[in-house]
């Protein structure tokens, strides 16, 4: 059935016959649709398969569901973007997608399974070797296991095995909303606190039928763009560090902190925890604070401009970034990549533009690239410029009005899709309510869920020594994918 994001609908109305479900899904995906979410909800002894398809060009969302009790038809062979969704369905409910090439576990959350213990690709031949990295890494980062199948320095394929960070957040959100729900959402991926909290709030608000006041919408926008500024700046610095280019690396490291401190100035937490709540925001901006924020934004932005332009002006850096880790547009579309990584490959998807919400009604930003590390870095620089411009505009013309609207009880037996453009890409929260006005099922799709496969593609045919650089250019979340 057709719907929009951020508008609740009667969940029962999405039900269609099994045969028609797969036919419709295949035809919609073939017609340029992108799977926003595809998951199974237990219903009695059977399982209900639910798929949300997004049409980026006209910002339309369609939701279909069907009841299945046994093996069902896998769509992955025709639509690779579903490969991880179908593996997830198989792992969580045991229903087998018939025809899926390889149903490897993705989170190891079934009884008796141990993270990392699974079948892997193997390579044979003289001078062919495998390099295993992780799950414990040299830096202070999250755990993940990487296997490179190599010939000398050349990588045939990179196999990424995650699941070490699975916490069962989706399950904890069922039965809500309660006091803790928003905090679970905020910590889905620590560096995307505002993004996920916003997506959660959007879902709850549409299920309550509440309109968020304009002032709160704009303040949410400011917070989200500050988060984007901090992360993009930090990542550009980290990329400079990975190619051994000192000046940008050290300056951007400090500047990321400046943006985080601006967030802390507003809500007392550097990552924006406890800023958003269903219906509005918790903290207001007064005149003095706005003045201080504008002053800090201008001075930090100028510093970022100086530090980052060093990156584009140094030929040894350009040589290192250009042509490294290319993801073709075809691969990016086929795998359903999102966010700056997809835009750098020429995919025109930005939730703020394609599915406008809140303060982004008239948002425009067209970025494109050739899919290499340079493009991914440059797209971030373009987005930094846009974010600074947006924040400046919003702070100068902050509408007056209340900070929140009262959220009542959730509509029973309904569902809502909430899309937000986090700094890493599109975040999708799909919420289904039960008969008693409580959350019956909560599905989170973090941008990292789609994009890890993009990193594997970027490494194909590349050099193993380029991996850290490619990895930084994506900078994906482990816990966001593992949930």
């Amino acid at each position: 059935m057709k719907t929009g994001h951020l508008s609740s609908f009667d969940f029962g109305a999405s039900d269609i016959d099994v045969g028609i479900f797969f036919e419709t899904a295949a035809s919609r995906l073939a017609a340029g649709g992108r799977a926003l979410a595809y998951f199974a909800v237990p219903e009695g002894a059977a399982q209900r398969l639910v798929m949300a398809v997004g049409f980026d060009r006209d910002g339309r969302v369609e939701v279909y569901s069907t009841l299945v009790a046994g093996p069902f038809r896998a769509l992955t062979p025709s639509f690779p973007q579903l490969h991880l969704f179908e593996r997830e369905i198989y792992e969580t409910c045991g229903l087998k997608p018939e025809g899926h090439p390889w149903l490897k576990p993705i989170r190891f959350n079934t009884p008796g399974s141990v993270p990392g213990v699974a079948d892997y690709f193997t390579v044979h031949g003289s001078q062919v070797h495998e390099v295993a990295v992780g799950p414990v890494h040299a830096g202070v980062i999250e755990p993940g296991h990487f296997r490179f199948q190599c010939h000398g320095e050349r990588v045939f394929h990179l196999e990424i095995m995650l699941g070490y960070q699975h916490r069962g957040v989706e399950k904890r959100l069922v039965g809500g909303p309660d006091e803790r729900s928003i905090h679970y959402a905020e910590t889905l991926a620590g560096d995307t606190t505002i993004g996920h909290a916003w997506a959660y709030c959007g879902a709850v608000e549409s299920l309550c039928g509440v309109n968020v006041p304009p002032r709160a919408q704009i303040i949410r926008g400011v917070m989200c763009e500050l988060e984007r500024l901090a992360n993009h700046t930090g990542d550009l610095g980290a990329m400079a560090g990975d190619v051994g280019y000192l000046p940008t690396a050290s300056f951007c490291g400090r500047l990321r902190g400046d943006f985080l401190n601006m967030t802390a100035l507003i809500c007392g937490n550097r990552f924006g925890r406890n800023m958003l709540k269903p219906g509005g925001v918790n903290f207001d901006l007064d005149h003095a604070l706005i003045k201080e924020l504008l002053f800090r934004l201008d001075s930090s932005y100028r510093d970022v401009e100086d530090a980052v332009s060093l990156l584009w002006d140094t030929s040894s850096v350009a040589d290192r970034l250009e042509g490294t880790g290319v993801v073709s547009k075809q691969a990016a579309e086929g795998l359903g990549l999102v966010g700056p990584a997809a835009r750098a490959s020429g995919v025109g998807l930005d939730t703020r533009r394609n599915y406008p919400y809140g303060p982004y009604e008239r948002f425009t930003l067209g970025v494109s690239g050739s899919g290499d590390v340079y493009s991914r870095a440059y797209v971030r620089w373009l987005e930094i410029q846009k974010s600074a411009e947006l924040i400046r505009g919003w702070l100068e013309n902050l509408p007056a009005g209340p900070l929140e609207a009262e959220c009542g009880a959730l509509k029973p037996d309904s569902a809502a899709v909430s899309l937000v453009e986090g700094w890493r890409g599109q975040i999708c929260h799909f919420v289904i309510t039960g008969a008693e006005e409580k959350i019956r099922h909560y599905k989170v799709v973090d941008p990292s869920f789609h994009n890890w496969q993009g990193l594997a593609m970027a490494m194909r045919g590349g050099e193993i020594s380029d991996f850290p650089l490619c990895n930084k250019s994506f900078n994906l979340s482990y816990c966001g994918r593992d949930l």
């Binding site: 990975d242 050290s250 020594s465």
Partner: protein
Amino acid sequence: MEIIKPLSQYLAVMVLSPLLLGVINRVKAFFAGRRGHPTLQLYFDLYKLFSKTPVYSRTTTWVFRAGPVIGVSAMVTVLAVLPFAGRPSFLSFEGDFIFIIYLLGLARFATVLAALDTGSAFEGMGASREMQFAVFAEPAFFLGLAALARVTGQTSLAGMFGALTGDTWRVAAPVLVLLTASFFIVLLAENSRVPADDPATHLELTMIHEVMALDHSGPDLAYILYGASLKLWVFGSLIGCMVLPRHSGSWASDCALFLLVMFVVAAAVGVVESSMARLRLIKVPYMLITAFAFSALALIFQMGR
């Protein structure tokens, strides 16, 4: 009495060489707008490591333990041959420049064997990269020394640099400039500095020299770090002797000036590291081939002079 001066020079090198890395790090910190760690940090690190108990993996053999010791001994021996401020060393003989090339090769061989002995994929990768780059760096270095032997008509290092005077610079400046450039590139590559390698990285997949030392600990790691600082001194002092041909006759002022030049060389390394990114790994050989071309060109110029 004649042994006192060379011996004190030798001891001075042993004591001062970790200071070079301190200077490089200060320069890098300056460019990065940081305070940086203390100039004497490596001394503190060495002290700390020497008081630790090493840990050995069960898969390693005596080869692994011998690596650092052979490495540092080879460097200590090289420095006994190497002239200081153009002054003769106490172990100098005809053709000793071939001797030091073999000693450097021996140190590398021992390090690589120790790395391979761990059986780790990372260390194997680092060892293979080290050997690959050595194939390009060694000829550049060897040919450079051969050209220098031609210029000065001497075959011992002490003789070569002793015979190198301001007059030599006046008549053979192009040759000496090419050789200095070649030695500087070899210095960067051999001492795993940017743009050949990044000594500051924590990413095993991109490392060359550092990754081979990952499994060493305690005094073994101290030997490796100390050996690396001696190696930096070896290449630095070749450049120092080259660009500072003046012999004032006063031992003290010669030595003071030479030490100053050594720190300038270290600072130059720091500036290079701060102002450019690391090369793509497959492009490092191109840089070393450039050094080889410089050395070859110097030799050709010298033959035709």
